[in-house]
Structure formats: C-alpha cells, structure tokens
C-alpha cells in the first residue's frame, strides 16, 4: 500500500492526508459495444475498431486466439469483436462503403544459425481483425461532408452521424527553446501560427508523440482565441496532466504535430476523456459521468470525422 502523503496543519509530523489504493469489486455486467471510428481527409483506407467493454478497471490480460497454434496477448487488453457488419455512407454523395475485416497477421520464419533450427511464429498486425479492426475500401474523406455509420452486431443495430468540419491552414510551426529544470534536458515547445475563423465556433484536437504512458491528445475550443493565433502551445488546451507532456528534445530525429478539426460533440467527448486523466480528488471534482458519445443504442466510443493538418520534422 503506497502512501503518497502531504502534511496539512501539523503540530509534530503526524497529520497527513493520504491517497491509497482501494480494492473495490465491481459487479459483472453485460458488455457493451465500443466503437473507435476515425474518418479523415487524408488518404484512406480508414479504420474502425470494435471491442467490448469490461467490468474491471485494472489491466487483465486478454489473450487473443489466433488462427493457428500461437497465442498472443492483446496489447491494450480489450476483447475484440470480429463478427460485426459495418457500413459507412457519405451523405453528401451517397456512396456507401461496406467495411472489410483487416488481415489477421502473418507468419514469420527465421533460421537460427547457432542452434541450426527453424523457428516460426504468427505475428499479429497492429491493426489486425483479431484486435477488432475493420477498414474501408473506397470511401474518401472530404471536408464539409457528413457521414453516417451503421453497425450490425448480434442482432442489434447502432447508428451515428457526423459532420467533417473544414480546417484553417497552418501558417507555420516554430519551436521555442526552453531550458530544462536542473537535471532535466532542454526542450523545445512547438508553437503554432494560424488564422482562426472568428465568425464560427471551432474545435481542435492536437496529437503529438508523447511518452508511452501519456495519451498524446489535447483539445481546444476557439472561445478565447484571438483572430490570429500567435504561437499556440499545442498542449495548452485541455490535455492530460501537462507536466507529463513529452516536448521534443533539442536533438530530434523525428517529430510531428497533427491538428484535427472537431465537431462540438467530438470536443465534448474528448474533453470528457481527458477529464478522466485529470481526476485526482473526487471531492473537488465534478461528478464523474460517461463521456458523451454520438452513437445510439447504448454503444460507447465515438464516430469521429476530422480534417487533418499534419506537419513532420526530420533531423532538425
């Protein structure tokens, strides 16, 4: 039992406030459909992932049986759904795309020269159907269009409709050199410069590569932005605990920033997800609630349609 303690109002040393782990058993429930669907205006195919919810909070490895003899553990422990039918329609030009299951993976063979033995194993792709991924075949994501998602699974139907908002162009990205704290590396804060349309409410999602333990997203509403955004630190919208942001160091071989446009529903959904990272004390935090998705019939997750600006940096 790890106790992170902080003294408050002590006479000697004894009064501490403490946070400790609490063993709470949740009852078992009927799992729900979880949808991760992402259509962008970049080149396809686009991916939709279907998994099931679970009644535990802690990681409980879920093994995915593959087609042959080897077993693999799903990296994020989500139980995949491999028997659903998914359709996405572009409402603006009435193209309907029936999604296909992604390939499971491939066999890897190699010869071990030391022991003179042929080894083989089945390598599950990152976007394998065994993990719940499906992909589009002909759909094109175009800014300004509206899309409808339909899923049929185990006798139930789920629908979602989402509009893809257009995105202003990025004028430039500059890096603001910042000296690191004692014992830490110096780093560069990426700053964005762009013209922000003032006559409408816009929402943005930013993705930057981060540490493996940090969710690399942050969202921003344009409520308080000025007409010309003069150097916005991408992590200063609503983001996970900001001190965990992995800003690029001064000697970087590769870095990227993605700026996505979001609808109001998308903003509210990601905001609620990010809120779950920031909870560190129930008393002073709002009552927790399910992040508001846009899919009906009790499905969790979100159908996201965004226009994307992506800027890459190599060897800078």
């Amino acid at each position: 039992m790890l106790c992170k303690s902080t003294p408050i109002f002590t006479l000697i040393l004894v009064a501490i406030s403490c946070q400790e782990e609490y063993d709470l058993q949740l009852g078992s429930i009927k799992p729900r459909l979880v949808v991760e669907a992402n259509i962008t205006n970049q080149k396809g195919p686009y991916l939709v992932r279907l998994t099931k919810s679970r009644s535990q909070l802690t990681n409980n490895p879920y093994k995915i049986p593959d087609s042959d003899t080897a077993w693999n553990t799903a990296k994020d422990f989500a139980e995949s759904i491999q028997d659903a039918e998914i359709y996405i329609e572009d409402n603006t030009n009435a193209i309907v795309d029936t999604l296909v299951k992604c390939p499971k993976g491939h066999w890897v063979y190699y010869h071990d020269t030391i022991s003179n033995y042929d080894w083989s194993y089945f390598s599950v792709a990152d976007t394998s159907i065994l993990l719940g991924y499906y992909k589009t075949t002909k759909l094109k994501g175009i800014a300004g269009h509206t899309y409808t998602l339909t899923i049929k699974w185990q006798g139930s139907e789920y629908h979602a409709v989402s509009y893809m908002p257009p995105l202003p162009g990025l004028d430039s990205v500059k890096f603001n050199f910042t000296k690191g704290d004692i014992g830490k590396d110096d780093y560069n804060i990426p700053l964005l410069y762009f013209k922000e349309p003032q006559n409408e409410r816009n929402y943005y999602l930013f993705i930057t590569p981060g540490k493996s333990s940090v969710w690399p997203y942050s969202v921003l509403s344009d409520e308080f932005l000025k007409p010309y955004v003069n150097g916005l630190d991408v992590c200063k919208g609503i983001s996970p605990d900001y001190w965990m942001t992995d800003y690029p160091g001064t000697n970087m071989s590769y870095y990227f920033i993605e700026m996505h446009s979001l609808t109001k529903e998308g903003y509210n959904y990601y905001k609620a997800l990010l809120q779950q990272f920031r909870t560190d004390g129930g008393a002073y935090a709002p009552t927790p609630a399910t992040p508001p998705g846009n899919i009906d019939n009790g499905a969790l997750g979100f159908f996201k349609t965004s226009a994307v600006n992506r800027v890459e940096f190599k060897n800078y």
């Binding site: 106790c3 303690s5 902080t6 003294p7 408050i8 109002f9 006479l11 000697i12 040393l13 004894v14 501490i16 406030s17 403490c18 946070q19 400790e20 782990e21 609490y22 709470l24 949740l26 429930i29 799992p31 729900r32 979880v34 991760e36 998994t51 099931k52 919810s53 679970r54 009644s55 535990q56 909070l57 802690t58 990681n59 994020d76 989500a78 969710w215 997203y217 409520e223 308080f224 000025k226 150097g231 200063k236 509210n268 779950q276 990272f277 909870t279 560190d280 004390g281 129930g282 008393a283 002073y284 935090a285 709002p286 009552t287 927790p288 609630a289 399910t290 992040p291 508001p292 969790l300």
Partner: protein, 791 residues
C-alpha cells in the same frame, strides 16, 4: 391552501384586536442583560409565576409581557447565569431592566429555569447556543467554531470532513441563510471549509432554525443561522488574545460612554501556509520521511477576519448599532489543487436602530450591505488568467414586534433588497497569455418582502403561531436571455433587455403555522407546517462546495425552489431542568431543486442555465437529542435517522437517487467535564453512515487508453465515518488573583487516527490501460496547542 391561511390569519388578528380594548392589562417590559458586561442575553427566559405567562428576550435583549395580574412574581433566567426572582407591582406599564450574573462554577448546582424556554416556545426545531457553549466544544485545531458546533446537532449533516458547510434535513448547503447581525454571509468558510468565518470571541450567541421557521425568516429552504455579535463590554476595557500553531487572534472591547455606548474590535490572522511549509520541509529534509520526498514548500494558505462594532444608546427608547465584518482568504496548496490559486473574501456591514414605541411595541430598522467576491488564478505559463466573480446585496428592513394584549403577539415587517450578481469575468494575467478577456452577463434583481404573524394564546396550555410571508423578486436589465430548444442543446434565439427594464417577476406567498400544547412547564408537544421558497441558487459542481461556486438569480430555465415541511416534536425536561430531551420527526417535499447534467460544463459558460436540470425530491427523518445543561459535566447526545432522495429527469435514468449528503445515520456525542478549578476536559465523538458516490460500471478502451463509464449517479455507499476528539484546558490558578488571566489548551483531533474517506475516485495509473480506485483521506490525527490570555 394558501388563501385559507391568509383569511385565517387576518380574521384571527381582527379577533385579537377587538378583545384588547376592554381589559385592565398592563405591560412589563425592558431589557435582560449580563450584570458584569452589560451584554444582551438573547433568548433569556422570563415568567410571571402567577399566570404562567412566559416570554423570551429577543435579539436585542428586549422583552415585553402584558398581564392582568397586579402583583407579579417574576422569574428570570438564562443558561450559565444565576436566576433572579423579583416581585413587581404591575399597576401601570412598567419598565424593568433585569441584570443576571454569570454562575460562578464553584457554586452548587442551581435550578436552571432558563431551559424551559424551548418547552414553552411555539417555534419548532430551534436551538439557541450561547457562545460559552460553543467554546466548550472541542474543534479542529483548538479554534471554537460556530458552524462546526451546529454540525453536532440532530438533523445536521456535512457532506465531507473538514467542511464548514451544513446540510440540514436533506437540504443542499446553499439552502442555509447565515446572518451576521442581520446581514447575510454568502460564503461562511475559510480555507476550503476547514474553518468558518466567524470568530467566536466576537460573538454573543447563535439561534439556529432547522425547519418550518417563523414568518420573519425566508429566502432559503433548509435553515436559518442567526448569529449575533457581542456589543462590547459596557463597563470596562477587556482584551483577549491567543496564539496557536496556525494563527493568532485578539479582541479588544470596552465602553465609549460607560453603560451607554461601547465598542468591540476582534481580529484573527492565520498563517497556516507558513506552518505547513515549515513542517513539510522539516519532514522532507531533516527527518527524510519517504512520503514527503516530493513536498513542495510553496503552499500559501492564509486568511484573516476582522469584526468591528460600535453601539450607542441615545435614550431609553432608542439604540443605534453599527457593525462590520471583513474577511479574506488566499489558498494555494500543491497537494489539493495544484496549479490554481483561490482568493476570496466577504464584507458585511449593518446599521441598525432599535426604537421602542411604547411598552408593547418594539421595532428595529436595519440597513445592510453584503459583498462576497472570489477570484481563481491559473498559474499556467500560456493559459495564464484570472477569473473574478462577485455577489452583492444591499437592503433595508423594518421589523416590528407588538403585544396586542396578553393573548396575542403580532410580528410584522418589510424588506427591500437589491441583488447584484457578477458570475464571471476572465482576464488574461500576462501579455503572453493566449486567452482573450471575456465576461458573463451581470444580473440584477430587486426583492420586496413582507410578513405578518400572530402568536395567539388560547389557554395556559395551548398556543398557535400563524402567519405568512410574501416575497416578490423582479429580475431587471440590462440582461440577455437565451432561448433553447427542447433538450437545451442549441440556442434558438435571444432577447436583450435595457437598463432597469423588467425581465421577469416571481412572487410567492408562504404560509407558516405552528401549534404548541404545553402539558406542564416540563413538557410539551408541537406540530408545525411551513411553505418556503428560495429564489437564489448556488450552482456547485462539487459535493463539498468551493469558493468558485456560482450564485444565480432565477431565470426562464432555473425556477425558484420551494419546499413544504411538516414537523412534529416532543420536548421534555428532567431533574429540575438540568436534562432536556427533544425528539422531532420531519417530512419535507422539495420542488425545482437542481443538479448538474452529466458532463456539465460550468466554467465560464454563458449558457450555464442549460447545464442544470431540475426536478423534485423529498426528505424525511427522526431526530433525538438528550442534553445535560448544568453541573460539572455538560453536553449532549444526538442521533438522527434520515433519508433524502432526488428525482430529476435526465439524471440517473430518471429514477430516484441519493444526493451526496444523504446520510442515513448520524450520531454525535459531546461533553465537557470540569475536573477541578484549573482543569477541564472536553470530548466529541461522531459517527455517521457513509455518503453516496458515483462509481463506474465498467471500463472500455479508446485510442490506446482505458476509460470508465457510469450508469448510476451516487449509487455506491462508502464506509461509515467516525472519529473522536479530545481537548484539555488548563486555567492558571493565579488567574483568581491577578488581572492577566491565561489558559492553555491542548487538543487532539481524530484521536485514534481513523482514515475516514474524504473522496473516492478512479485514477489512471502509469500505463494507459490500467486504472485503479483510490480513496483519499484528509485528516489523520492532529494535535494542537494554543495559549489564550485575557486582561
């Protein structure tokens, strides 16, 4: 229902009027005061033995009793004072001021008649606590606290440890009207609720009403906490000072003109942050305590209070009082709220004029001002801004209390109040901030109210108090009202109003009724009903209440709340008045109560009124209290069994659910024992059932991280809360012989260091797909030492 009450009260009043003209009755009136200091004894009890007529002194120590009896034997008493018996010939209206002397503790136990005032009064659910009683209860860090003492009474819950907020009979904490010398105080908490803003050294007493309150009170649904400041010693200058680990205080009071005018100034300053920083650094660097290795010594926790009052008695019939309170807080705690700092403060000031028209009619005219402001700073590099908000109230009130005759006491009054709300202004804190200045619309309203009630005595046993209250509130411009579609997700239009243009008018008539049957002077039964409305709402998205909660007037979507409350009570005195047993049963219906919808967005939201949903609720409970009022051991045991449920469409799948303060069992035991001349010990034990919190039903994976989803709101009951406090007081024996009187107090909060859950939450832990439940507990064992002097 309401018009029946109106007609009933008017006709009984007329009946009362007509009987008064034809009888030989005279009135005995005057003030009841402390003989040593001249302070008013609020709620002191006076009885005419021959006729069993009883009256209590009002907030200004004034009493007035009309009787046919010619030769009266008057009995006057007050808890903590020696009672007086006097013979008076009542051949004409007679003024007789009565001075009571404080009980010297070495005397034997004396019959305390003063306790009978609860039995005899027609008001239900009322507790009067003199400041000495509050000071004898142990409290956190040795600082006696009015609101914390009220939390030990039956029917009073608190949603979280350390909080000064009160949840009375299932009501939320914005449903309490807290008055300091007639001015309302909007945020009675310092330092996120660990202390209240009331400095016990400046106070005289507190009168607490829990339900079905008499007609002169309104504006809040659940309770009225009527706090009266001391006037200031009329006879000599007295200085009290104290120093403890987290702060110091000093009070100076004395006469300006002996026996006619006096003043009191009282101040408190707390440097809790500095103490915390010092102790944390010692723990981290000197003792190398593992848990403190990341301690940040930049905590700023400080607050101050200043109470000042002067009063002047112009003549026998006129007395003027001016009192003011200033307080402020600064809170930045690395552990609790990270990169944000909070700053808030209250100012109240009151000017009052008591006027005695004649022996039977007492009046009080008040003009007051109350302002509560708060600011919230975000200390981010690029999102640096200040959010400021404030609420202000300015009003004039007139209250009259008239003895029509020996059987009817009429109370009536009027008030006119101007309300100003500034829910939020955002300003960038530095030029690099990417935030634009922005302001939520300010709101203004004018409130007019009036009340009329009669306390009618039908016989020596049976009395009824009946009356009503009228309240009208006009929202006035400049303002902009937004219109929404059916599920309040889209703005469909708006309408702008000019300055002083009427936006909307709300009104209500609130009947109040109370029956009291006195079996004898030792027991009685009471039945009461009251209908109350509350026009203002506090929008708080946390169960404990933060200084950043927003006060709002009603509008098109947030309607005034209302409640019907029914109370039945039985009251009994034992053993010559030294034990009092009270039990009450209550049932309350609630309408237009609000709660936030799921994922509500409150921060700087122009459309804050579409983030709340309204609905109905009910609360019921049974309360017991047994109090020992005199002797070497004093104290009480209180127990409440209660239940509160809300039903709001759009929350918890439209079914009944518990608000956070639905606490089923609540037990409090408190006692103070005088060991000898120099030592006394006091102790408090509290046990309550756990409150209800929201826990996830399960989790799901999205974009590589795990997130929780919820179905029930407040569906999980956490474990019970209990703790024991102990404190020892040492009064120096040299105090008997010298002017400088000193005392030491050593107290321990949470003696057996129970880890009571303060918050239960789910937190991502290290890897993105793993989260765990955490519980946070706030106060472990907290010992304190403090030193007080008086001279």
């Amino acid at each position: 229902m309401k018009s029946f009450f109106l007609i009933a009260s008017l006709s009984l009043t007329i009946a009362g009027f007509s009987t008064c003209l034809y009888s030989q009755k005279y009135t005995l009136y005057g003030f009841i005061k402390d003989s040593l200091t001249g302070e008013n004894l609020i709620g002191a009890y006076l009885m005419i033995k021959e006729t069993n007529q009883v009256v209590s002194a009002n907030k200004y120590g004034f009493y007035s009793i009309t009787s046919k009896q010619g030769n009266c034997t008057i009995l006057c008493s007050y808890v903590g004072y020696s009672p007086i018996t006097k013979k008076i010939e009542l051949k004409k209206d007679t003024k007789s001021d009565i001075f009571l002397s404080p009980l010297i503790k070495s005397l034997q136990e004396v019959i305390v008649h003063g306790n009978k005032s609860t039995i005899a009064s027609t008001t239900v659910s009322m507790n009067v606590m003199a400041i000495d009683k509050i000071k004898s209860i142990t409290s956190i860090l040795g600082e006696p606290d009015v609101l914390k003492s009220l939390q030990l009474l039956p029917g009073v819950q608190t949603a979280g440890e350390g909080s000064a907020n009160l949840n009375v009979r299932g009501g939320s904490f914005d449903q309490n009207l807290i008055l300091l010398d007639e001015a309302p105080v909007y945020n009675p908490s310092h330092t996120l609720g660990f202390f209240s803003t009331f400095n016990a050294d400046a106070l005289n007493s507190v009168t607490f009403y829990k339900g079905a309150f008499p007609s002169q009170f309104g504006g809040r649904l659940s309770s009225v906490v009527d706090i009266s400041m001391k006037e200031g010693n009329y006879k000599k200058i007295v200085v009290d000072a104290g120093i403890g680990l987290i702060g110091g205080k000093a009070t100076i009071q004395g006469p300006l003109i002996k026996d006619r005018a006096s003043f009191i100034i009282s101040g408190r300053y707390s440097f809790a942050g500095q103490t915390l920083n010092l102790l944390g650094l010692m723990g981290r660097d000197v003792f190398h305590i593992y848990g403190l290795r990341n301690f940040d010594d930049q905590n700023k926790i400080r607050f101050y209070d200043l109470n000042a009052k002067i009063n002047y008695r112009l003549n026998d019939n006129n007395h003027i009082y001016f009192s003011t309170y200033l307080g402020g807080d600064r809170f930045y705690s690395f552990a609790l709220n990270g990169d944000n700092a909070l700053d808030w403060g209250n100012i109240t000031s009151t000017l009052r004029w008591n006027h005695i028209f004649n022996s039977r009619v007492f009046s009080n005219f008040t003009s007051y001002f109350s302002n509560y402001r708060y600011s919230y700073y975000i200390n981010d590099d690029l999102k640096n801004f200040i959010w400021k908000s404030n609420i202000r109230e300015e009003g004039v009130k007139a209250d009259f209390n008239a003895n029509l005759n020996a059987f009817n006491i009429i109370k009536f009054g009027f008030a006119s109040i101007y309300h100003y709300f500034s829910p939020g202004i955002i300003e960038p804190h530095s030029s690099q901030s990417s935030i634009q200045a922005f302001s939520l619309g300010n709101k203004r309203a004018i409130e007019l109210s009036g009340y009329l009630s009669n306390e009618q005595k039908f016989s020596n046993h049976f009395s009824i108090e009946y009356g009503f209250r009228y309240v009208g509130l006009a929202n006035i411009g400049p303002d902009t009202v937004f219109y929404y579609n059916l599920d309040k997700s889209i703005v469909t239009g708006y309408k702008s109003y000019n300055k002083n243009e009427l936006v909307k008018y709300y009104q209500s008539i609130e009947p109040r009724l109370s029956f009291r049957y006195l079996f004898n002077e030792r027991n009685s039964v009471k039945l009461a009903y009251g209908y109350t409305t509350q026009l203002l709402h506090l929008l708080s998205n946390s169960s404990l209440g933060l200084p950043t909660d927003v006060w709002m007037p009603p509008d098109h979507y947030i309607h005034p709340q209302s409640s019907n409350q029914y109370v039945l009570g039985y009251y009994h005195l034992f053993a010559k008045g030294s034990y009092e047993f009270t039990t009450e049963v209550y049932y309350k219906t609630l309408r237009n109560i609000i709660d936030f919808k799921d994922n509500a967005n409150l921060f700087m939201n122009k459309h804050i009124d579409n983030q709340v949903l309204d609905g109905k609720g009910y609360a019921h409970g049974t309360e017991f209290m047994m109090e020992k009022k005199s002797g070497d051991l004093t104290g009480w045991i209180s127990y409440t069994w209660s239940k509160t449920q809300y039903k709001i469409d759009g929350i918890n799948e439209n079914t009944y659910y518990s608000p956070r303060w639905d606490i089923r069992h609540n037990l409090a035991i408190t006692g103070n024992y005088l060991i000898n001349q120099n030592w006394s010990v006091s102790s408090t034990f509290k046990y309550t059932s756990g409150g209800f919190v929201t826990v996830p039903e399960g989790s799901y994976v999205y974009d590589g991280a795990a997130f929780n989803y919820y179905t029930e709101r407040n569906g999980y009951q956490i474990e019970p809360y209990h703790r024991l406090d102990l404190s020892f007081k040492y009064v120096s024996p040299k105090n008997m012989t010298r002017r400088w009187k000193s005392e030491w107090m050593f107290s321990i909060y949470n003696v057996y260091n129970r880890k009571n859950i303060y918050a239960l939450f789910v937190h991502q832990e290290g890897y993105l797909t793993s989260s765990r439940f955490y519980r946070m507990y706030l106060m472990g064992i907290v010992p304190t030492l403090s030193y007080n002097v008086k001279f």
